[in-house]
């Protein structure tokens, strides 16, 4: 795969890279190939959205890119996958890392934001933001707490730092979750339907927040089924049935757009036709895989 950028520039190497990634959920008769030979690269300053129908594998791809999940070594039939699936985070092959090393990498380089599962309910907003910093251990606790308060203030939550997470509104919780994801100045922010559970006003708030972060050079990968939200990203990846079917810059955005460095998977296949899974309700994309 040829890189166009100057090889000497550190910023030129992709922060996340998936190479021939397969992911099979379940086993035996229930084995379900969720990702089929997906390759993608995310650069260090990109704002990327991944769209696709429920069950297209977009969330799974996000978890794999963030090192929360690992690619499969065997396909649905149990045969080893060749060439093997590989995910690189900041150049490190996650296949070579054990659980603790991968956790450390997530702590240092990745910030996750989810649709539900926002916060630890028994901790205050400030403590929630503080915890990843305490885990990283670079800042002593008072400084970490101070930085947490600063981050919350940046997101308009300065009055609620001491409030328990379960006593914040949904929009506030999601903003605290974004602040927490940014606590360790991650190389990339991975958001899985960050507005999926919010009302219009709060959705816009979070969307504006993301655009502002992206404008300041924060790499973001966002999974969403909201096309208007997705179109605000500089690059949009479309997935269907476990494959990337389109990957192109979006129209009318000010951010620089990187040229696609991987071949598109827009060959023939089931991707062209609406899958039966696509007809199902998309309200709870997390649960669709369980069917």
């Amino acid at each position: 795969m040829a890189h166009i950028e100057c090889p000497l520039s550190a910023a030129a190497s992709p922060i996340l890279r998936a190479k021939n990634v397969h992911r099979v959920l379940g086993s035996g008769d229930l084995a379900n190939p969720v990702l089929r030979d997906v390759s993608v690269e995310i650069r260090r300053d990109e704002y990327v959205s991944i769209v696709g129908a429920s069950g297209s594998g977009k969330s799974t791809l996000l978890y794999l890119l963030g090192g929360l999940d690992r690619p499969s070594r065997t396909d649905a039939a149990g045969a080893p996958i060749d060439p093997p699936s590989q995910v690189f985070i900041d150049g490190q092959d996650t296949n070579l890392l054990d659980d603790a090393a991968l956790a450390r990498l997530r702590n240092e380089k990745i910030g996750f934001v989810f649709q539900f599962h926002y916060l630890l309910k028994e901790f205050t907003a400030q403590e929630n933001v503080c915890l990843p910093m305490l885990k990283l251990g670079r800042l002593p606790r008072p400084e970490a707490m101070a930085r947490a308060a600063d981050l919350l203030a940046r997101f308009g939550l300065s009055g609620k730092t001491k409030r328990r997470a379960n006593r914040l509104s949904g929009g506030e919780q999601q903003r605290v979750a974004v602040a927490r994801a940014l606590a360790n100045e991650p190389a990339v922010l991975l958001a899985d339907e960050p507005t999926g559970n919010l009302d219009r006003r709060n959705s816009d708030l979070v969307a504006d927040l993301f655009r502002e972060l992206a404008a300041n050079g924060q790499a973001i990968v966002m999974v969403t089924h909201d096309l208007s939200l997705a179109s605000r990203a500089a690059r949009m990846i479309t997935m269907d049935d476990g494959r990337i079917t389109a990957d192109h810059p979006t129209a009318g955005v000010a951010l620089p757009v990187a040229p696609a460095t991987i071949p598109h998977h827009d060959g023939p296949g089931r991707g062209e036709l609406p899958d039966d899974r696509d007809l199902r309700s998309d309200a709870h994309p997390f649960h669709s895989r369980r069917a």
Partner: protein
């Protein structure tokens, strides 16, 4: 960070945490109080027995009983032996040359003093009351060196045996049973026809009930006459410099004299066995309490894990490893064990002091004023560490379950 999360989790479920801690506390407190009480009685019995009966007793019999000569000649169990009307040889049981043996004992290392005794049962009568009395014939000046009988006198004294020719010193129980008081004369009748009257010149109470209710001390020579055992010595009682080493001294003496020589442990093996069983039961009961407490911890930690599955997924997403998650739940168990055991030590100490002050008089195997509490540092250590270790074991399974959750499955909604 792990401690921060652990403490917050425990504090946010205060009531469950307190119930768990209380369970551990109760078992530790009970363990300390019960073992202190058991040890108190055991120690009291040992001290009283050892000090009033002597450390080592040399008996007037060989260790092995003699087998009939015919059986020795034909040891094959299938040999056909027919004997009828076999009578044992009519020997008088005694220690040969007691004076020589006493001299030898004087020069043995570790043996502080030795005193000869003759003993036998007589019928004691006073007025209309009659009881069995176990007469010990002693030499008072030697006897006070091997036992603490002189300290157990309620009235009169052992030395008066030397000044009153027909004196007898009896246990408090014997005196009460006969209704005899100081200076009363009681009638003694031996099994071989000896008969005499004796004046009560002392009453003792050792605290060991069987002794107080059956024993009388008289001069050696008068006892020999009464019991029909002229110049016979049945026992030599020794005092050692360390009663814990009585067993090894007894073995040495037996090697020298050939007579069966019992340490106090051997003489009281039945009682000591009862104490062992008693101790075992105490351990089982308090151990069961601890196991119940541990199940409480297990139960509450499993609930805590199930309740916080989302937390586990979030913590894993921002960088905690499986190990970190396991540690957080193990630490919760550890804190419960530590706090419960520490409070239990304090309450255990208070319980020991409180029980010590209960004003009751107990008369069983030994007599005591108030409950006897004997504390050993080892009991406190044992209670403390076993509680923590058992609770840690109980938290291992919830911790393992917590660590096993796959964050992606949780986020997908599988849990």
């Amino acid at each position: 960070m792990r401690w921060f999360i652990t403490i917050r989790y425990l504090l946010s479920h205060k009531r469950q945490s307190l119930v768990c801690i209380a369970g551990v506390t109760i078992s530790v407190t009970m363990f300390i109080a019960m073992t202190a009480m058991m040890n108190g009685f055991t120690d009291k019995f040992i001290i009283e027995t050892v000090e009033s009966s002597g450390h080592i007793t040399i008996k007037d019999e060989p260790r092995e009983t003699r087998t009939p000569i015919l059986e020795r000649a034909y040891p094959d169990p299938n040999a056909l032996l027919a004997l009828s009307n076999v009578k044992p040889r009519d020997t008088v049981r005694k220690i040969d040359n007691p004076t020589g043996l006493l001299l030898k004992l004087q020069h043995m290392p570790g043996i502080l003093a030795a005193a000869p005794e003759v003993f036998g049962d007589v019928i004691a009568t006073y007025g209309t009351k009659t009881i069995n009395l176990n007469i010990h014939g002693i030499e008072p000046e030697r006897q006070v060196k091997v036992t603490t009988i002189a300290n157990d006198m309620l009235e009169g004294g052992l030395q008066r045996l030397g000044t009153t020719a027909d004196g007898i010193v009896i246990g408090k129980g014997v005196a009460d049973a006969l209704g005899a008081r100081m200076d009363d004369s009681i009638i003694l009748a031996g099994a071989t026809g000896g008969r005499t009257s004796a004046r009560v010149v002392g009453i003792f109470r050792t605290g060991v009930t069987p002794v107080d209710y059956s024993r009388g001390y008289m001069l050696l020579s008068r006892s020999q006459t009464l019991l029909g055992k002229k110049n016979i010595v049945n026992e030599i009682v020794c005092r050692t410099d360390d009663y814990e080493r009585a067993r090894e001294y007894a073995t040495q003496i037996e090697g020298i004299c050939g007579y069966r020589t019992e340490s106090w442990q051997e003489s009281n093996a039945n009682f000591l066995k009862i104490f062992d069983i008693q101790t075992l039961i105490t351990y089982i009961i308090t151990g069961a309490l601890l196991v119940v407490a541990a199940f409480g911890v297990l139960n509450i930690l499993i609930m805590a894990v199930l309740e916080r599955v989302n937390d586990i997924a979030i913590l894993r997403s921002f960088g905690l490893s499986r190990w970190d998650i396991g540690v957080i739940y193990t630490l919760q168990g550890f804190v419960i064990g530590l706090v419960g055991a520490t409070v239990g030590l304090g309450l255990g100490k208070l319980a020991v002091e409180g029980l010590r002050r209960i004003p009751v008089t107990l008369e069983g195997l030994v007599r005591s004023e108030g409950l006897l509490m004997s504390e050993h540092a080892s009991q406190y250590y044992l209670a403390f560490f076993s509680a923590i270790i058992v609770v840690l074991f109980a938290s291992a399974y919830p911790a393992w379950r917590a660590a096993r959750y796959d964050p992606v499955e949780v986020i997908r909604g599988a849990h």
